[in-house]
């Protein structure tokens, strides 16, 4: 019942976001209202805590990594609406004859790749892989076993023999995966 504005975006800004992300005006309005709802302090930007206040995200084993993805391109430790929508745009379903580099197969793969690549050097090392594995299994599997899983995964995907997975190798390894479906969600109008 708060005095939440329905939409405070200027028309030109709306048009820019539409062009950049491919979302419709209605979808952007919806996302904006969600954004303001998450912004508990009313500062116009989201902090890490604002994200992790969503219980379903807080209990997601990769929740913190997903939140980090929003902060990758921001100088400060806050995310404004433009950045917020841009990240979400990766998850728009792929449509024929409507190319947008964010939600293309490659865009989606890049997003996933960056979740592993913690130090942002465009390679996934054994340690980075191990860290993600650990987040997903928690205390349930021994570190030795995880290590051998990580080693094996790198061995399988590594083609140039540098002991790491580069983006091209990553794409090759996921060649047969239905990335378009698994990395898409539906946005309501």
């Amino acid at each position: 019942m708060g005095s939440r504005p329905s939409l405070l975006l200027r028309d030109e800004e709306l048009a820019e976001i539409q062009k950049e992300t491919g979302f419709s005006a209605n979808q952007i309005e919806r996302l904006y209202s969600r954004f303001t709802a998450l912004d508990k302090t009313g500062s116009g930007a989201l902090s890490r805590e604002d994200f992790l206040r969503i219980p379903e995200l807080a209990i997601n084993p990769l929740g913190e990594r997903i939140v980090m993805a929003f902060f990758r391109h921001s100088e400060e430790d806050r995310v404004n609406f433009r950045q917020f929508v841009r990240v979400l745009a990766h998850f728009r379903p792929v449509k024929k004859n409507k190319d947008n580099k964010l939600n293309s197969r490659e865009g989606k793969l890049k997003f996933a790749f960056k979740l592993y690549d913690l130090d942002d050097d465009d390679r996934i090392t054994k340690e980075e892989l191990l860290a993600v594995l650990q987040m997903m299994v928690g205390e349930n599997i021994s570190e030795d076993q995880l290590m051998s899983i990580a080693e094996r995964t790198i061995l399988e995907s590594d083609m140039d023999g540098d002991g790491m997975i580069g983006f091209e190798e990553f794409c090759k390894a996921l060649e047969r995966s239905e990335v378009e479906q698994k990395m898409s969600i539906r946005f309501l109008n």
Partner: protein
């Protein structure tokens, strides 16, 4: 100079007297007629039937507004909303109650419904369509794949876009503007005609209805405090008389309160109404049926829930002692019947609360006790976890489902934002409080059923009847962060993928998150 002036004023005073009497008559006449009407009508259990007509009229106005807004919207954005844009007009506002459970509710388009259901189920890893991500073909079992993160990422992003929990603690989203300024739709300029309607509505709500409603509410409080004091002064040995009088007083007082918020309440399935027996000194039943009052459990949206239920039946209440306006009512009620009010410190003592509750339920002469097992107010779009406490006591449980029609005024009480009086002020300046109440058949715990399972069984029945989403999440998440056990549960679920290669590493004993009942299990906000 002085005598002249003196004479002048005295003459004036003389004149004033006749004039004053006239004013006095003019003012007190209608007021006393009004007061008497209120009390007589409430005593007779009658109402003038204005409210239902008024609500019908509002529905037509809203419908008019909806069509206007949609037209304006189409003009603004044009019809170029291509990608999976649904036809706006597919969201139908139903006029008047329908025959099924979701009586007065805005309809979701099928697409949204499906999406909601899917999102809800995606929480559980073991659900069908998600399973495909995890159920790896046998030949590469126990192998990690780089794409395994997709499942978690997708769920995470979905939760960011829309989650099941946080939206329950803010006002429910309306499909169309209901001409109130404080809904999530806010004030919108659509057309002059609509703005005029809004303005007239504003005037009526604030300058006509509000004074009437405040007066009626005040009369209700006066009546309740005086009448309960009278009933309370009757010695305990005249139990039957006391109880009968209290029933009359309670019904009448709550009826008056319901007028002060223009409540239009439709109760369904009277045969399931909770009821205690009136027992005379010799122990034989005078009125009602055997088995004692039992416990009446309902979903919780606001303190108004109590009014909504108590206009139709008498209850004893349990809850935390409040100060202020609620405190006045609590003390008044406690004078005449055996309500259980706890101090905040006592509420923490779960055993003491459970003992008091058990004593009350076992005493067959007492009224059914009203409990809101969610323990906190939810915005009436979902039912959240029921605390197991009231289901451990034993005896009969009378489930009740309450569904409000948020178009006429959102009844959800966001206690972190508004005080009780602020909240009442908002309710009294809303259009009306319209709701449906369903009495569900009494239930008892099956042998071998745990209190948690029983609570869940009752909860899902209430959810289904009221057309609400049935959630396993704890309403305490409003104030506290999610428990890490839930995350561990998901990690465990994922680790099962590697189970064949090393079963000894799997920790089997991750606590069931739904049974972490360390919070108060009784409603602290009644």
């Amino acid at each position: 100079m002085l005598p002249i002036g003196f004479v002048g004023t005295s003459k004036l005073m003389h004149k004033m007297e006749a004039w004053e009497i006239l004013v006095l008559l003019l003012v007190t006449g209608p007021v006393s007629v009004f007061v008497i009407t209120v009390y007589v009508l409430s005593a007779l259990g009658k109402s003038l039937g204005f409210r239902r007509k008024y609500v019908q009229m509002l529905l037509y106005i809203f419908e008019y507004g909806r069509i206007r807004i949609e037209k304006a919207h189409r003009e603004k954005y044009g019809s170029d909303e291509e990608d999976n844009c649904e036809d706006v007009s597919s969201k139908v506002i139903s006029l008047g109650p329908k025959s099924n459970g979701n009586a007065v509710k805005l309809e979701d388009s099928p697409e949204e419904k499906e999406l909601r259901n899917r999102r809800q189920s995606s929480l559980k890893l073991s659900d069908d369509d998600d399973q495909s991500d995890l159920n790896i073909p046998v030949d590469c079992k126990s192998d990690f794949e780089l794409s395994d993160i997709f499942h978690f990422v997708k769920n995470g992003i979905e939760a960011i876009v829309e989650d099941q929990v946080t939206q329950r603690f803010v006002a429910e989203e309306l499909k169309s503007w209901n001409l109130l300024t404080r809904t999530n739709r806010h004030y919108e300029f659509i057309s002059w005609r609509l703005s005029l309607i809004w303005l007239v509505g504003f005037f009526i709500r604030y300058f006509v209805m509000l004074p009437f409603r405040v007066t009626i509410c005040f009369l209700g409080v006066v009546f309740l405090t005086m009448a309960t004091a009278l009933v309370g002064s009757i010695p305990k040995r005249y139990g039957v008389l006391r109880r009968r009088l209290y029933n009359i007083v309670s019904l009448q007082a709550f009826e008056v309160f319901s007028w002060s918020i223009s409540a239009v309440i439709t109760h369904h399935d009277y045969e399931n109404q909770p009821g205690g027996a009136i027992v005379d000194e010799s122990g034989s039943i005078v009125k009602g049926f055997e088995g004692g009052g039992g416990i009446c459990v309902a979903n919780h949206t606001s303190p108004i829930d109590v009014v909504v239920l108590a206009v139709d039946n008498c209850y004893d209440m349990i809850g935390q002692r409040h100060g202020g306006f609620l405190g006045i009512l609590q003390r008044a009620l406690a004078r005449a019947s055996s309500h259980i009010w706890f101090e905040r410190s006592e509420m923490k003592d779960r055993e003491a609360v459970a003992r008091r509750l058990k004593e009350h339920v076992e005493d067959k002469t007492k009224l059914p006790i009203l409990i809101f097992p969610e323990g906190t107010c939810i915005n009436n779009s979902a039912v959240m976890q029921f605390k197991k406490g009231s289901f451990e006591v034993g005896g009969v449980i009378y489930p009740v489902a309450i569904k409000y029609d948020a178009r006429f005024g959102d009844p959800f009480w966001d206690s972190s934002k508004y005080s009780m009086l602020q909240y009442l002020y908002m309710m009294m300046t809303s259009w009306a409080i319209v709701c449906d109440v369903w009495y569900l058949p009494p239930m008892t715990r099956k042998s071998g059923e745990s209190a948690v399972d029983f609570a869940n069984r009752v909860k899902s029945l209430i959810a289904r009847k009221g057309g609400l989403v049935d959630l396993d999440w704890d309403g305490q998440l409003k104030r506290t962060p999610a428990k890490k056990e839930w995350k561990e549960q998901q990690q465990l679920e994922y680790s099962k993928k590697f189970v064949n290669s090393s079963p000894r590493h799997i920790v089997s004993a991750v606590e069931d998150p739904s049974s972490t009942g360390d919070v108060d299990n009784l409603n602290p906000s009644t």
